[in-house]
């Protein structure tokens, strides 16, 4: 009898940490998710509703704010600019980093170690540090207020990490494969294009997805290099929108919903690649 009771209490004792775990997990989950839900609620209300019943679900949803923003030409400019910058920088990162990663993975030469250090300098300090002189250099080249400058700078910021990720992958490809390709009459560059690159597709996808997230989310580079409204990126626009319409919180919330949609869609499709890029980059880098 008493034995039974002891067993029961032991069972209970084992259960308490599990219950506690779930409580903490659920609290953490709420901490992440509730802010997003509140903003979505807010964005789908009229201004009046926002101030009188801010936290109840928007039933029925009011699309007025969303429609108002969608009708602003500037919103579409921002979206287009962000897409241009992100696409170009991502393409640049993938192409340029895979080229240099290939050299570091496959070719031996004197001073390779030092050279590699130089290529991975970007991992040693926050790129933010360089933003002031970058502004000066861009001004000297005459590229200020030009998306090309934003693209070049954001590409550079991604190069170090991407080179490391791709080099690690290229090094894992057995050298027998290269020998076989050579015997079949492939030169080094042919081996790179025809064999290594197709093999590296998953790594390239990871590097590309990471570059998309990082360049899409940039604020500082665009803030420093871009003046004219028509060239604002979505992030820069988000900041400015809040400055301009900060009094109308439901309108700002609606803007946030719209501004977040591209990233969320991308996340839904590329989550696996983003995650593998991040873990590959940080665990081996």
């Amino acid at each position: 009898m008493s034995d039974n009771g002891a067993r029961k209490s032991k069972k209970l004792k084992n259960k308490i940490p599990i219950i506690l775990k779930y409580i903490i997990l659920i609290m953490a989950l709420l901490f992440i998710i509730v802010p997003i839900i509140i903003i979505i609620f807010g964005g789908l209300k009229t201004r009046g509703e926002f101030y009188t019943i801010p936290y109840v679900p928007p039933i029925p949803p009011r699309w007025g704010n969303i429609v108002r923003i969608v009708k602003m030409p500037i919103f579409w400019y921002m979206l287009r600019n962000s897409m241009v910058v992100t696409t170009a920088a991502t393409a640049g990162v993938v192409i340029i980093a895979s080229m240099s990663a290939f050299v570091f993975a496959r070719i031996n030469f004197k001073g390779k170690g030092v050279m590699f250090q130089f290529f991975t300098l970007g991992l040693m300090f926050p790129a933010t540090v360089a933003i002031l002189p970058i502004f000066l250099i861009v001004r000297q080249i005459g590229l200020q207020n030009n998306l090309i400058a934003v693209i070049l700078v954001l590409t550079t910021f991604q190069l170090s990490m991407s080179t490391v990720i791709l080099r690690n992958f290229f090094m894992e490809v057995p050298s027998e494969l290269q020998d076989a390709a050579m015997i079949d009459g492939c030169n080094t560059i042919g081996f790179f294009w025809r064999i290594l690159i197709p093999l590296a597709k998953p790594s390239l996808a990871a590097v590309a997805s990471l570059a998309v997230v990082n360049t899409w989310n940039d604020l500082l580079v665009a803030l420093v290099l871009i003046d004219s409204e028509k060239l604002w990126t979505l992030q820069l626009g988000t900041m400015q929108f809040q400055g301009q319409y900060g009094q109308d919180l439901s309108l700002v919330s609606a803007f946030l919903i719209l501004a977040a949609i591209p990233a969320v869609i991308f996340y839904m499709f590329a989550q696996r690649h983003i995650v593998s890029g991040l873990t590959a980059g940080s665990i081996k880098g």
Binding site: I96, L132, L152, T156, L159, M239, I283
Partner: protein, 296 residues
């Protein structure tokens, strides 16, 4: 014949390095040196820098009260991240990593804020932190519990903490993800062997799981410190470093002097100090990693 072909080939391959080298030189290395150079001048960015003042900027920076405040705040964010955010992330990773149903769901949700931009995050939390309970959700919750509502971003003693909460919201999922990946890489055999040897759950965690995660923890510490040192967008959008410099951090301080006040020489000096702080940290980290890896 064959070797000559190969070496010709090799030279062509070296051309592969040129695009990356050119970009890194132009937008990373040369800027850093220029930064060092301009920090020696009193310069407003117009015309050439002529008013050479030597180390005067540096001296002014290091004795400036607001700068020291910014250093303190940046270090506070680093410390809070290391001692609160990362342990929480580790805890969540251990809970989620071990046979909880709906693992993929939790992972997706916790990682979502990482994908949202800092600009969106900052504007969002500005709304949530609105001091009026009828507008700001956080104070609405406080009111509902009967607690005193607070000026989250307006109170000098609270603002840094409020910002840290936002940083945690955004980045905890990222660190959690690193830990989950690290946990997955731990061989099941080791844990099973330990179980057979009669190790209990807590012992397993302290003597086996966490030591085996050391590499991952180190990486996440590294990323967290470098990330915390360069926090910009969230602070700039939420408070611009205020009220009365209470949330000023290194990057907002640098930005203010470089691009708002156009004291470029001084701003360049601040950037150099930031660079030195980051380099001291990353070099220490790397030599530490090298030493411990030798032992292992």
């Amino acid at each position: 014949m064959r070797t000559r072909n190969l070496s010709k080939d090799r030279i062509k391959v070296f051309l592969f390095l040129i695009p990356a080298a050119a970009l890194i030189l132009t937008f990373l290395v040369i800027p850093i040196f220029q930064c060092g150079y301009y920090s020696l001048f009193d310069w407003n960015g117009m015309g050439p820098a002529e008013d050479f003042t030597g180390l005067q900027n540096l001296k002014n920076i290091l004795t400036n009260k607001v700068f020291l405040k910014a250093v303190g705040n940046s270090f506070t964010i680093v410390a809070l991240s290391l001692f609160i955010q990362l342990p929480m992330a580790l805890f969540l990773a251990i809970v989620i990593g071990r046979g909880i149903r709906g693992r993929a769901f939790y992972r997706t949700v916790f990682f979502l804020p990482y994908v949202l931009s800092e600009a969106i995050t900052a504007v969002m939390w500005r709304i949530l932190y609105n001091p009026e309970p009828s507008r700001g959700f956080i104070n609405a919750v406080f009111q509902a519990f009967g607690w005193e509502t607070k000026a989250w971003l307006g109170d000098t003693s609270l603002v840094l903490f409020s910002i840290f909460v936002v940083l945690t919201w955004k980045y905890i999922g990222f660190h959690m993800l690193l830990y989950i990946t690290g946990l997955q890489n731990i061989s099941k055999d080791i844990e099973e062997a330990a179980l057979i040897d009669g190790v209990n759950r807590r012992q397993m965690l302290t003597y086996i799981t966490i030591p085996l995660l050391a590499g991952t923890i180190r990486t996440s510490v590294y990323l967290s410190v470098l990330g915390s040192l360069q926090v910009f967008a969230i602070v700039w959008i939420m408070t611009k470093g205020g009220p009365v410099n209470a949330s000023e951090v290194l990057s907002t301080y640098m930005y203010r002097f470089s691009f708002v006040r156009f004291q470029l020489g001084y701003g360049a000096g601040v950037a150099i100090v930031m660079l030195i702080i980051a380099l001291i940290f990353s070099i220490t980290y790397m030599s530490f990693v090298r030493r411990t890896e030798h032992i292992a």
